[in-house]
């Protein structure tokens, strides 16, 4: 017991915070990769998460499989990212940094409206896959299987991403481009293509976040607004452009929200903005951000 609260309740609360934080990690790591590689502040990040949720809805409606839904989310939305980067963003590179920001802001308004026209104003239900429903009992703890899935799925995605960035040739080129794209270009690499791939990976991660989060709610055209806000809070806390920062920041904010929900529920949302404000005051570049990127 801690302050008259049983231990199992406290552990369960932290478990939920960890699961929530895992979704935040997926969201923020995508935003961080895009910022790190392209220096673009993607205001439409949550919008792509929303597209991921709708991709799951369409895939499940057609195939009945949640797994196919997850795969379609990353593939379809990643491809949409490629098209957007190639047609809309590429012409803006090297120009006023405000232009891509305005473009992504425009996308965050236009894409939900397009979804409303295609799918209607009412949200679409997506149920938990049968195999992941129910709960795992560990002594006095009852842990919902879908939340366990979110945590382990995020872990698997992060390990794959780490292996890709650290061990593959393409990953190394992406990391090098993040550091100094001019030098990479001088070495004969088509950096423009690297940017496209990086943008698609970032968008794909956002889509994954939307895809795994949507069974806990419903796919609605405006769900991206809050997701964009969360992604920014986590990225600012963790440090802009830092993948490690996105991971630590995401889990940290998830736990903060969980603890705040328990102590004073009405401050759950405010608590994460409060954390962001404190971090900005004492360490403007975020927990893992580089100097000069605050």
């Amino acid at each position: 017991m801690l302050f008259d609260v049983p231990w199992n309740v406290i552990v369960l609360q932290l478990f939920f915070g960890l699961a929530l934080g895992s979704i935040f990690v997926l969201l923020a790591s995508g935003l961080s990769i895009i910022y790190g590689l392209l220096d673009i502040v993607n205001f439409a990040h949550g919008t792509f998460a929303m597209l991921g949720a709708y991709a799951v809805f369409v895939a499940i409606s057609l195939s009945g499989s949640f797994l196919i839904g997850i795969v379609s989310a990353i593939v379809v939305v990643g491809l949409i990212g490629v098209v957007i980067e190639f047609i809309l963003l590429k012409p803006l590179y090297g120009k006023d940094p405000l232009l891509p920001l305005l473009l992504t802001f425009g996308l965050s308004v236009a894409i939900p409206d397009l979804i409303k026209i295609i799918f209607g104003l009412i949200g679409k239900p997506i149920n938990y896959p049968e195999a992941l429903s129910g709960a795992t009992v560990l002594g006095p703890l009852i842990l919902p299987n879908y939340r366990l899935f979110i945590i382990f799925f995020t872990l698997a995605v992060l390990i794959s991403l780490w292996l890709f960035l650290k061990k593959s040739d393409l990953g190394m080129i992406i990391r090098a481009s993040t550091r100094d794209s001019l030098m990479v270009q001088v070495l004969g690499v088509n950096v423009s293509r690297i940017w496209t791939i990086g943008f698609a990976i970032g968008i794909g991660l956002a889509a994954l976040a939307g895809a795994v989060a949507v069974p806990t709610m419903a796919a609605t055209p405006d769900m991206g607004v809050d997701m964009t806000m969360v992604a920014f809070v986590v990225t600012v806390v963790g440090g802009l452009g830092s993948l490690g920062g996105a991971i630590v920041g995401g889990l940290f904010i998830g736990l903060v929200v969980a603890i705040a929900s328990f102590i004073a529920g009405e401050y759950a949302t405010v608590s994460m903005y409060f954390c962001m404000a404190v971090i900005l005051l004492i360490r403007p570049r975020g927990l893992f951000g580089e100097v000069g990127r605050e």
């Binding site: 939920f16 409303k116 997506i126």
Partner: protein, 422 residues
């Protein structure tokens, strides 16, 4: 460029030109205005959240108003004049709504205003209407007819929040159990519902185990549930709406809570049930002022909901239905008063006005301009749901059993004395 301009147009010429243009424009506007007057039209302006998360409900409000206006115009208009209806998007934002209301009254010269989906916005609209002495009919659940907010020119056409709470809590304490825990959206509407629940709980021997306030727009409720699981209530009360309610119920279901205890929503909506798919089953129930299946009980409901379904291809939500009734009653009052210019006379005519439009016989209570209407309790159909047949009506609580006396409402009693948990 400046030099070039100064050579062509002198400042004096520019000023003269501007003055002439303004005069012509003024004459044109005046001419258009006079033409409209000569044609003899009546203007009704409404505001709805047409963008944002509640746009689905805003659209229903708009359509229902359109339907009512078209029906009146088809019958020859109001007092022989055509009704011109102007609709604006208030974005569910108080400041925007106030700007729209000013536009509607000062620029569009509307004779009446109506609409809004938020109780908080309706309070601001009510204040605006009272200052400007223009009739305002609210389509949403609102406290504007209570206490110091009561005013001659405002009328509320959905139930007040405490009535919704009284109706649903009465059913829950009689049919489900006594121990309850609530999740309340942390704003005025949610708190008003909670006041109603706590008061009723005291009257009916309920046991209030606790409440969590969740910020409006919360998408994750999983972190609230361990506390509720530890309290082990007979039922969880949802004092929230829309996407908040969808997420809260979905996540309660994920934890298996919908099988262990019941979920009772003070207000629920047809589209929320549909969004939840099979999750919203017979263990989940909620309150509504209107559900299309009422067509099986009242001939008026059948006529109204069939007409809406035929015109727009889907059944109407309760928020649209209240708009339809509000629009009709407003025009009926003006018809009865025989005027559109004497606003006080119109509101006098509305006081105590009896009608039967979409449900059983109803009236606008004279003392506080509150529509006295029944409140429905619906139970989800879970996986048996098909199309818009998502719930069954299990009870219809009579309107006069869920409103307080005129004297109590004028003092916001007994709810003003309820101490809300922190």
């Amino acid at each position: 460029m400046e030099k070039k301009l100064s050579k062509k147009i002198s400042r004096r010429t520019l000023l003269k030109g501007t003055a002439v243009a303004a005069a012509i424009l003024g004459l044109a506007v005046s001419f258009i205005g006079q033409t409209a007057m000569a044609q003899g039209t009546i203007k009704y302006g409404t505001m709805h959240p047409l963008t944002g998360v509640y746009s689905v409900l805003g659209l229903d409000q708009q359509r229902a108003t359109e339907m009512a206006v078209e029906e009146w115009n088809a019958k020859g208009g109001l007092l022989g004049k055509k009704i011109v209806w102007i609709s604006r998007d208030d974005q569910l934002n108080g400041a925007v709504a106030l700007r729209r209301a000013k536009e509607l009254v000062e620029e569009e010269k509307c004779d009446f205003i109506g609409g809004t989906l938020s109780g908080a916005i309706s309070l601001a609209m009510n204040e605006f209407a009272c200052k400007n002495k223009i009739p305002y009919v609210a389509y949403c659940q609102s406290d504007m007819v209570l206490g110091a907010d009561q005013c001659k020119y405002g009328a509320a056409f959905m139930v007040i929040p405490s009535s919704a709470a009284l109706a649903v809590s009465k059913y829950a304490f009689e049919k489900i159990g006594k121990k309850w825990f609530s999740i309340t959206a942390d704003y005025r509407w949610g708190q008003s519902l909670l006041e109603g629940w706590i008061w009723q709980s005291e009257q009916m021997g309920g046991k209030f185990l606790g409440n969590v306030y969740a910020p409006l727009g919360a998408t994750d409720f999983s972190t609230y549930f361990p506390k509720i699981m530890a309290a082990n209530p007979d039922f969880i009360v949802m004092n929230n709406l829309g996407a908040d309610q969808t997420a809260a119920i979905k996540q309660a279901n994920e934890l298996g809570l919908t099988k262990k205890m019941k979920i009772v929503c003070s207000k629920t909506a047809m589209h929320t049930i549909q969004e939840l798919g099979g999750v919203y089953d017979e263990n989940i129930m909620g309150g509504m002022t209107f559900y299309w299946k009422l067509r099986d009980k009242y001939a008026t409901s059948k006529k109204f909901s069939d007409a809406f379904q035929k015109k727009y291809g889907k059944p109407i939500e309760q928020d649209g239905e209240s708009g339809y009734v509000a629009t009709n009653v407003l025009f009926m009052a003006a018809q009865k008063a025989g005027t559109v210019t004497d606003k006080e006379k119109i509101m006098n005519a509305m006081e105590g006005l009896k009608y039967e439009l979409t449900k059983g016989p109803e009236q606008v209570r004279a003392c506080d301009h509150q529509r006295v209407q029944s409140y429905l309790i619906v139970k989800g159909k879970g996986k048996k749901a098909k199309g818009w047949d998502v719930a069954d009506i299990v009870a219809e609580i009579p309107g006069d059993s869920i409103i307080m006396s005129c004297e109590n409402n004028a003092k916001k009693l007994p709810f003003a004395n309820v101490k809300l948990p922190k």
